[in-house]
């Protein structure tokens, strides 16, 4: 099992979700996050004074899948979330030790 964590532009969520549902993923978790990457946010003007928006709003998607699906899903997210401009985000893949479906007590791959 692997967890795929993707930090994407908020307005790309629907496209990513639709693309993923075609691939019959079993579920996903989304959270609103803020952060910066190599550009360190961007500069704005407010009442004449410059300020740096250092933490930009992003969405973080978490999906836990069977090892075999990891490459496909990463590819799909990468395609759907891409604009080609700065700030498109990143995808991380993390090994998962264990999983339990709370309702039934199933565990491992059965719980996904």
């Amino acid at each position: 099992m692997k967890k795929i964590e993707a930090v994407i532009k908020p307005f790309k969520l629907d496209e990513v979700k639709e693309a993923l549902s075609k691939e019959s993923i079993a579920g996903m978790t989304v959270s609103e996050v803020r952060g910066f990457g190599r550009q360190k946010g961007h500069t704005e003007l407010y009442r004449g004074a410059e300020y740096v928006v250092d933490f930009l709003p992003k969405l973080k998607i978490e999906i836990v899948v069977d090892d075999a699906k990891v490459d496909t899903i990463c590819r799909i997210i990468g395609q759907a979330a891409k604009t080609g401009r700065i700030g498109d985000g990143k995808i991380f893949v993390i090994p998962v030790e264990h999983a339990v479906r709370i309702r039934t007590g199933e565990s491992g791959n059965d719980a996904l």
Binding site: R34, E44, L45, Y46, R47, G48, E50, D54, F55
Partner: protein, 568 residues
């Protein structure tokens, strides 16, 4: 002209409309008072002159309004008026009562609108501060109303308006809100007749706690209207000093602010030495400030400047001397507040005629509206010209700047001049905000620029653009040479032949800026010894809501970005 027209009305409609005909009679006597007040003319009834027929039993104060003319009643029960038996004098009595009623209604309604401006100020200031201080900022805007009113009731009204009736007025003038205002007749000053008529009035001394001597219907109307005006001044500094002002220090400020406000109001509106500058020093009509660009707005703005200086900037506002932006948390709230203020201003300016029968109110309304829109447009054009985005908070400041600027000249200028005054105000506010930021003064909402700087511009613009059409005999100044030249001595500025009025306005502007700033600076320094003026660094980082007033504005939301970041 007015006399002739009135007589025609009187003869044609005599049988049909007693009220109209009597109004005409009244117009001939009250509105052309020079004739009726000449020594050989018959005396005007006490309800215009405020005179007492029997000094042993004074008519004023008049707690029911019953002595102010006669309340017309229909003859349904045979006790009321029977038109065929009424003399002209009887009708006059009834119309006089009606006249004061119309004036009082107008002033009260206008005052209700001004009171509602408190909500506008609250929304503008809260919207421009951060979410973590929203509860504290709104609480200041709220409590300044009860605390300020308490002080105004206790001592402010007496200082400001206690000698109102002895101020300089033109011949034949009468109190539009009713003769009861004649009880506002004692004060302190220099020179004069040895009584309460001074060459240089300094302050009033009658009406503390609205005590027994002033329990009069007209005094109450005046008290209410002037109270809601003062509240505007009182709430301006809460914007300039937002997000770092300690609550307890704010409380004693709110009880104190009536002192400088009412002293200065006395000098300009209460018949004091600035109003008398025309009579004493030949400076036009003395300081003319129709609805308070100086008395209300510049005073509030310069108190705010002193407060912002004594407090110092918010933590994180300046990094190595460079101003940092600290965005407000709700721009829609700022815009809604600005609309409420613009709406309330239709009470602020037109109500300041103190008369609903002074038809100049329609000019005042239109001038107020034109200056407000050109103010917003001026700010937008200025931002565009400087290559900046059209920041809505700045556009709102622009509209308010136009409104503040037109407040003094609104009754005295042509619509084109009102539009120009507002436009300049809108441009001025953008440069002023940038100026104070770069000068190291932290004013989160732009109150110093909107109210202080544009308040001064309002006073000065009157001295330039006043066209002489209105305000004949203002502050008791009737100069023969002007009457000969123009037919009447209205208030006129630099462009219309009276440079001395411009000097009077400059004097007014300098005095309000210096007096307001100095009084407030000393007060804030002193009050800091009583209870600290600034919250601790820790409280400021956390946000003032919970430590200072115990209630977060938005408990269901994260209002911090965390850490020591200033923004958010």
């Amino acid at each position: 002209m007015r006399n002739d027209r009135a007589k025609v009305v009187f003869t044609v409609r005599r049988r049909l409309a007693f009220a109209v005909s009597a109004l005409a009679v009244m117009a001939t006597t009250a509105l052309l008072p020079k004739q009726s007040w000449a020594e050989d003319a018959p005396a005007v009834p006490g309800y215009f002159s405020g005179a007492n027929t029997d000094p042993a039993k004074p008519t004023w104060p008049d707690p029911t309004g019953g002595a102010t003319g006669v309340w017309a009643t229909p003859a349904g029960d045979a006790k009321g008026d029977v038109p065929s038996t009424l003399s002209v004098a009887d009708v006059y009595d009834r119309v006089a009562h009606n006249l004061v009623s119309i004036n009082m209604m107008w002033v009260l309604i206008a005052g209700f609108l001004v009171m509602f401006m408190q909500a506008g100020f609250m929304m503008v200031e809260v919207g421009l501060c951060r979410a973590k201080n929203a509860s504290h900022t709104s609480a200041m805007n709220f409590m300044v109303y009860p605390l300020g009113c308490l002080a105004f009731w206790a001592y402010g009204f007496a200082i400001g308006w206690g000698n109102w009736f002895n101020g300089p007025v033109p011949p034949g003038w009468y109190a539009s809100l009713g003769p009861g205002l004649s009880v506002l007749n004692s004060g302190i000053g220099i020179g004069g007749d040895g009584g309460n008529i001074f060459t240089y009035g300094l302050m009033g001394t009658k009406g503390f706690f609205l005590g027994s001597g002033v329990t009069d219907v007209s005094v109450m109307a005046m008290f209410f209207f002037m109270m809601v005006f003062m509240d505007t001044t009182a709430t301006i500094p809460t914007g300039a000093m937002a997000e770092r002002w300690a609550w307890r220090n704010f409380i004693i400020f709110a009880l104190w602010v009536a002192l400088p406000y009412c002293l200065f109001a006395n000098w300009v509106w209460g018949g004091g030495w600035l109003a008398q500058a025309g009579l004493n020093w030949g400076l036009g009509h003395g300081a003319v400030d129709f609805a308070g660009s100086g008395v209300v707005h510049a005073m509030g703005g310069f108190i705010g400047l002193a407060g912002a200086m004594v407090l110092g900037p918010r933590l994180g506002k300046f990094v190595n001397g460079k101003p940092q932006a600290i965005p407000g948390h709700s721009i829609p709230m700022v815009v809604a507040g600005t609309f409420i203020l613009a709406f309330g201003w239709f009470g602020f300016n037109p109500g300041s005629t103190l008369s609903g029968t002074d038809l100049r109110i329609s000019f005042v309304v239109v001038n107020t509206m034109l200056a407000s829109i050109t103010g917003a447009i001026g700010a937008m054009a200025c931002l565009e010209f400087k290559g900046l985005k059209h920041d809505p908070s700045m556009l709102c400041n622009g509209m308010l700047a136009g409104l503040v600027a037109i407040t003094a000249p609104c009754a005295f200028v042509d619509p084109w001049a009102a539009a120009l005054i507002g436009l300049i105000g809108g441009v001025l506010v953008v440069y002023s905000v940038l100026f104070w930021e770069n000068a190291g003064i932290d004013d989160p909402v732009g109150a110093i620029s909107v109210h202080g700087i544009n308040g001064l511009w309002g006073l000065i613009s009157l001295g330039i653009f006043a066209n002489g059409a209105y305000g004949a005999g203002w502050n008791g100044v009737v100069r023969d040479e002007f009457v000969k030249l123009y037919g009447s001595d209205g208030v006129r500025g630099l462009l219309y032949g009276d440079p001395s009025q411009f000097v009077a306005q400059l004097l007014d502007a300098v005095v309000v800026a210096v007096f307001g700033f100095a009084m407030a600076y000393v007060w804030f320094k002193l009050s800091d010894k009583i209870t600290p003026i600034r919250v601790s660094e820790e409280v400021e980082y956390e946000g003032l809501d919970i430590p200072e007033v115990g209630a977060p504005a938005y408990p269901d939301f994260a209002t911090h970005k965390g850490g020591r970041s200033m923004v958010g």
